[in-house]
Assembly symmetry: C2
Homo-oligomer: 429 residues x 2
């Protein structure tokens, strides 16, 4: 008999089925045994009459044949009346280091990550990555339907995009190269190559000396870049539209996962936009807190989000017009005020999840800026020369996939939102 | 007026339009000038009456407003009667190093790659990556619709999957780690983590000392892995189905790109399967060529594909049952003949594009195999321990995206099928 996925049974199947899955729970009452079987689609109770004839342990992989029956006392009101159990794969553990079959695993983050294959078997933890993949899918679907081409660009690069700091060096056939901090140069080059609108879902690497609940050293970056824009407002507009699409989509497609975390996503509407300068002023005037020069700090991000939330009800805010000195060499200066750039950050519930803006698209301007930034134009020739050959005004942004997942599900540590996180201490599993 | 994409005009628009794009060709006849304008969607002729008032050079980015009119002599039988030209972005070149506007760029592969942003502006080269992205999309769509979950796994790893050879070392906070050769361990761990069926589209790194037309040191790997299989035949079945789906889909969605390359894709049908041993025999008997021990070489791959093509008309062939000694530690031995494994390669038109097979899913067996392979089980604990906790029989495969693109379009060098290829010599652009 072919395999039936557990979730199908809850649709009201009334014929004998065969399921495959893991033994999630065993409750042996002597003359009757209740099993909970778990597969990729869900869990179901299996009732075995009399003593178990098969030697079963938790997490055995089994094949079970039986009749689905309604039972108002069973989880989901359905159970399987067991006819046959076959062990497909057994186990070799002395003790399972995590209690997979509790609703919340009662262990610290390090134990959860050390035993990642096991913690991912827990349905609530499992569901984080259903949501994450749905976020990535929404990103892809939205940008494709807006005429963007998906790209894969190299992660082995000869120079960093931000000028050499926080790079991981790679030994490459006797040469020293680096892991890409972002696809910045390449996505701009792809716009210039005539694709005009591109996006990428790929890894990015930051050798940041931070080991906080907000930092990963390898993360998945959702990048988009588009040509023929007027200024950075076009970029904020499309990111705003994407986020509205995302929230309305996953509210439906991830309903059960969001329910597990007690999340109900609001309508986003138009995200407020405010200059960095105004935000600094509010943080100072309303909360008495000074911000670092040309920026705001982690605490400031929380405060300005609180202010916006109270004022407008929105969890998001775009901060705009960051100073030239705080932005990379390719950031387009504001024609009305050359001390600031046509750039923005997007904060979500107290956390920066995006950096974006308009880029310089004129060769001479970029060349001069490199000199101003003490970067050697020679070294960046592969990128700089692009702008000799006709490049439209363009800009883009990047969202950290793990940060977005973290905030949507209100997790506490970004490592929870990465399958196999890499941080200053951790390179395994 | 809003922007109209060029391809829309060929659908028969009869109202004034504004297009944005690059100046692809200029033919100045004195009293009339013909321009070819190129945007991401296509090219169109623009007719300017009288002398050009705007100073135009090739590759200027322009905005043109005018009336679409039918003209049987124009390419695609449509042209635009120009009313206004505005230069959006000019150029700073002395000479364009490639002749973008010829059908085929008349330059060697190194010049094409050195000037990648320019060569990608050539419509025929541009179209390679339309096809490539459609291949990736088909892979994603096919496996999603078969219950597979997309994953992103780390590319920074503490150990190589094949035991330490051909790895790129990364300096990671004072430690030595490596770039992942494949997501092998992680995709197996994700099957074991209860996702059962997973796929990944991501980078893989091989520090191979080959600089051939078939090798890249960074490439995009289409990986799939599935649990609850009987043996490697289930894996070949699903890969076969995927390829049928792929060919029938891109025959429609990439019709114009395939036409540019003169390609008409055949129906695939059931791909022949043959043991490696039989293939070696045929190569020897039919073509008088000896093969290296336990494998066949590049020439043998071409010969066996020629044989299969003549015999069955199929461009593909699965070679099965590779010897234990030639496969990685995790390859499942054939229960009927423990000298060979439940593994396969897929050859396409003389080139290996896939390695796959069933994996060992029992802890004890994998542990013993590691010792046999002189690998330290301690070092691989993060992977090995997985198999203590109940793992279903499983297997999978990987397809090199660039190799598949190369073969479908009958390109001659794999670098043509990578946006920004990385090889022993090249790390830029």
């Amino acid at each position: 008999m072919g395999r039936t996925l557990i979730k199908e049974i809850f649709k009201g199947l009334e014929c004998k089925v065969t399921i495959y899955g893991w033994v999630h729970k065993i409750r042996d009452l002597g003359n009757i045994t209740f099993l909970i079987i778990r597969d990729r689609s869900g869990m179901i109770q299996v009732v075995v009459d009399g003593k178990l004839k098969t030697d079963l342990r938790l997490e055995y992989v089994v094949k079970i044949t039986g009749m689905p029956v309604r039972n108002d006392k069973a989880p989901g009101n359905m159970e399987i009346d067991c006819e046959a159990i076959e062990v497909i794969s057994d186990t070799e553990y002395e003790m399972i280091p995590l209690q997979i079959n509790r609703e919340d695993i009662d262990s610290g983050i390090e134990a959860i990550l050390d035993n990642r294959v096991l913690s991912l078997r827990n349905p609530k933890i499992h569901s984080i990555f259903n949501v994450q993949q749905e976020i990535a899918s929404c990103f892809r679907d939205f940008f494709k339907s807006n005429g963007f081409t998906e790209i894969q660009t190299p992660k082995i690069v000869s120079e960093g995009t931000e000028g050499g700091s926080e790079l991981f060096p790679v030994k490459y056939f006797g040469r020293r190269v680096y892991l890409a901090q972002s696809p910045q140069f390449y996505k701009q080059m792809m716009v210039a190559a005539g694709y005009e609108r591109v996006f990428e879902i790929g890894h990015a690497y930051r050798a940041e000396l931070h080991n906080t609940a907000r930092h990963l050293n390898e993360y998945v970056s959702l990048d988009a870049e588009m040509g023929f824009i007027k200024d950075e407002n076009d970029i904020m507009n499309i990111e705003n539209e994407f986020l509205e699409y995302l929230f309305s989509t996953i509210s439906k497609t991830c309903e059960s996962e969001l329910n597990l975390y007690g999340i109900s996503l609001p309508k986003i509407g138009r995200i407020p936009r405010m200059t960095l300068q105004d935000a600094r002023g509010i943080i100072k005037d309303k909360y008495g807190k000074s911000s670092p020069q040309g920026n705001i700090d982690t605490e400031g991000e929380v405060l300005i989000c609180r202010y916006i939330k109270e004022k407008t009800g929105n969890d998001f805010v775009f901060l705009t017009k960051y100073p030239v000195k705080k932005r990379p060499v390719y950031a387009m200066p504001d024609p009305k005020n050359p001390d600031v750039t046509n750039s923005f950050d997007l904060l979500y519930d107290g956390l920066e999840i995006t950096t974006g803006g308009q880029r310089i698209h004129k060769y001479r301007m970029l060349y001069e800026n490199m000199k101003k930034f003490h970067l050697d134009p020679e070294k960046f020739g592969f990128y700089l020369d692009t702008f000799k050959y006709g490049v439209p005004p363009h800009g883009g942004f990047a969202i950290g996939l793990e940060r977005l997942t973290l905030k949507i599900l209100k997790l506490t540590n970004i490592r929870e939102a990465s399958l196999f996180p890499r941080d200053m201490e951790r390179v395994a599993p």
